[in-house]
Symmetry: C2
Subunit: 289 residues, 2 copies
C-alpha cells in the first residue's frame, strides 16, 4: 500500500500524535508530544506540522500545541456518539432532575467505556467520569452493562488483560465477573458499589439501538450509602427504553408514519419541533458555502 | 516532504474524506464518499480503508460507512470546543432556564460560526443551529459578535466571499455590515432579526478567554416579535462575563489562590466540587490502561 513506511500509514502516525493529548494534558510542547508518542523526534515534528496544516492541531503563541477545533468538528458527525447524545439528552436531563447527583451517557470502546456526556450537580459525590475519558469496562456499572450485553469475546479478552480492581470493592475474580454479568442480564441493570471510589456507587441500564443491539448505557453516580436502588433502577430503565424508542424512530424510513420529524437530520439532531420541520425541508443546509 | 503525492499529504486526503460526512449525511456508501470527496475512486477506496483501520470510520453491516467514535474521542480533547463547553455549561443552562427557547455556545471557524452546543425547548421557534454545524459569520448574531471582535482581516475576506443574505432582513451591503459591527462593539452584544428565518431573532454576546481575546459567543434564538431585547442582552452579557471569569481561573497556575480546583483537568472538565478535588490528585487517571 502506498504512503506507508515501516508498514505504518501516515494516518496511524497522526492518530498516535493526537492520542498523546488527554483531558489532563490538553496543551503540550513539541518535545512532550514527541516523547509521549514514542515516535522519532523528526517524525513527530513532521506529523505535527502536517496536523497543524490541516487544522487538526493548533500552535499557540507560547509555542505549545493543542487539539484543533477542526478535529472536534469532524468528530461531531458521529451517529454513535453525538447523534446518540442528541437523541438521549432530554431523558438524561429528566433523570438528573430526579437524582441530582451525576447522570451520564456512555458507549463501548473495545474493552473500555467511553464517557459521551455527563451532568453533575455542584455538590455531587466523587465521580471520575470525564467527557471523552475512558475506564476499563469492568470498573464501572455502565461498563459492566456494556460487557454483559457484548456480542463478542470481550469477557475473555478482559480476563486476559487482567481485572486490576481499583478498590477492594471492585471485581476480583473470573467467577465474580461471570456472576455479576449473569445478574445484570437477568435484572436489566448493573450496580457497582465503590468500584472506583469508596464513597460512590454507580447504577446503569443498557440503551438498545435500532437493531436491538445495546449501543450505550445510561447511568448515575450516587452516594454509596446502601440505600435501596429499586427506584433509581426503574427510572434508568424507563429512560433507556424511551431513548431506544426514539432511536428506532430516527432510523425508520422518513416516510414511515412513526418516523421522527427532521428528515435526514434525525439521526444527528434533536431540536425544537419547528426546527426539525424546517431542517427536514433543507437537506444540504448544514454545508458551509 | 515525505508521504505526499501531487503535493497533497495523506492526512489532507483523509480530512477530505471525513469532510464528506455531515449532519444530514451521517452514513454514506463508498460511491457517495468518492463522489463527494472529488478524489479518484481508487484513492478514495484506499483512504477509506486506512480510516477504517484506524477506527476513524466504521463500516456497517449494510456496507455503508459512518464516522467512528474514535474520531469523536480524539476531538473531545479540544480546550477550544469541549473545554469551553464544560466551563460554560452551567451558565448556558442558567440562560436557557430563563429564556426557554434556544440557548447556544458558538466559536469561530475562520469565516464561519461553528455550533458547539445548543439547548432547545421542545416548543421553541425555528433555529437552524446543529451541533458541529456551520453558518457564514454574517448570517447570525453569534457570528456577527465573533466578526466584530475578530483581530484579523475577516471582514475584508467576508466581503470578498460575498454577503449572500439568506433573507431580505439579512445584511445586504458593506456599509450595513460596517455599521452593524460598530454598533456591536459599542453595545457589547448583537441582535439579528430574521437573518436566517423570518420568524426568528438571535441575540448574542462575546465570551472572552484568558488572554482577553474573544474565544466564543453565547446566544439565544427567540421569536422575532419586536419585543425589547434589553433584559435578554443583560442576561447574556452577565453569563458571558461569568464564563470569562471561570476561564481565567482555569488558566491561572494551579497554585494561585483564585485558580479553580481540578489541577491539570480544570481546562477540560467541570464536575462536582468533590470530583474536581479527586481529579486534582489523580493526574494521569484519564489514561486507559
Amino acid at each position: 500500500m502506498a504512503h506507508r513506511s515501516n508498514g505504518v500509514s501516515a494516518l496511524s502516525r497522526a492518530v498516535q500524535v493526537l492520542d498523546t493529548f488527554s483531558p489532563d494534558a490538553p496543551t503540550q510542547t513539541l518535545k512532550e508530544i514527541s516523547q509521549r508518542s514514542a515516535l522519532p523526534t523528526s517524525t513527530a515534528h513532521r506529523v505535527v506540522g502536517d496536523l497543524v496544516d490541516n487544522g487538526l492541531l493548533e500552535r499557540l503563541a507560547d509555542r505549545t500545541y493543542r487539539v484543533g477545533n477542526r478535529l472536534w468538528e469532524l468528530g461531531s458527525r458521529t451517529p454513535g456518539a453525538v447523534g446518540l447524545r442528541e437523541i438521549a439528552m432530554p431523558y438524561i436531563h429528566g433523570v438528573q432532575a430526579r437524582v441530582r447527583q451525576h447522570t451520564q451517557l456512555l458507549i463501548r470502546a473495545d474493552l473500555d467505556v467511553l464517557v459521551v456526556d455527563r451532568l453533575s450537580a455542584r455538590d455531587a459525590i466523587v465521580n471520575a467520569s470525564i467527557i471523552g475519558g475512558r475506564h476499563p469496562l469492568q470498573h464501572s456499572s455502565s461498563g459492566i452493562v456494556l460487557l454483559a450485553f457484548a456480542q463478542d469475546d470481550a469477557v475473555e479478552r478482559i480476563l486476559e488483560r487482567g481485572l486490576k480492581p481499583v478498590t477492594a470493592s471492585g471485581i476480583q475474580s473470573r467467577s465474580e465477573l461471570v456472576e455479576v454479568l449473569a445478574r445484570v442480564r437477568h435484572d436489566g441493570f448493573a450496580v457497582s458499589e465503590g468500584y472506583l471510589h469508596p464513597t460512590s456507587r454507580g447504577i446503569a441500564a443498557p440503551v438498545r439501538g435500532a437493531q436491538d443491539v445495546v449501543v450505550g448505557a445510561i447511568g448515575v453516580v450516587v452516594p454509596n450509602n446502601g440505600s435501596d436502588v429499586a427506584e433509581i433502577s426503574v427510572l434508568l430503565r424507563h429512560a433507556a427504553q424511551r431513548i431506544s424508542d426514539d432511536l428506532l424512530r430516527c432510523y425508520l424510513p422518513p416516510e414511515h408514519p412513526d418516523a421522527r420529524p427532521g428528515g435526514s437530520f434525525r439521526q444527528m439532531v434533536r431540536s425544537s419541533e419547528q426546527s426539525m420541520e424546517f431542517l427536514a425541508h433543507h437537506d444540504g443546509f448544514s454545508q458551509a458555502e
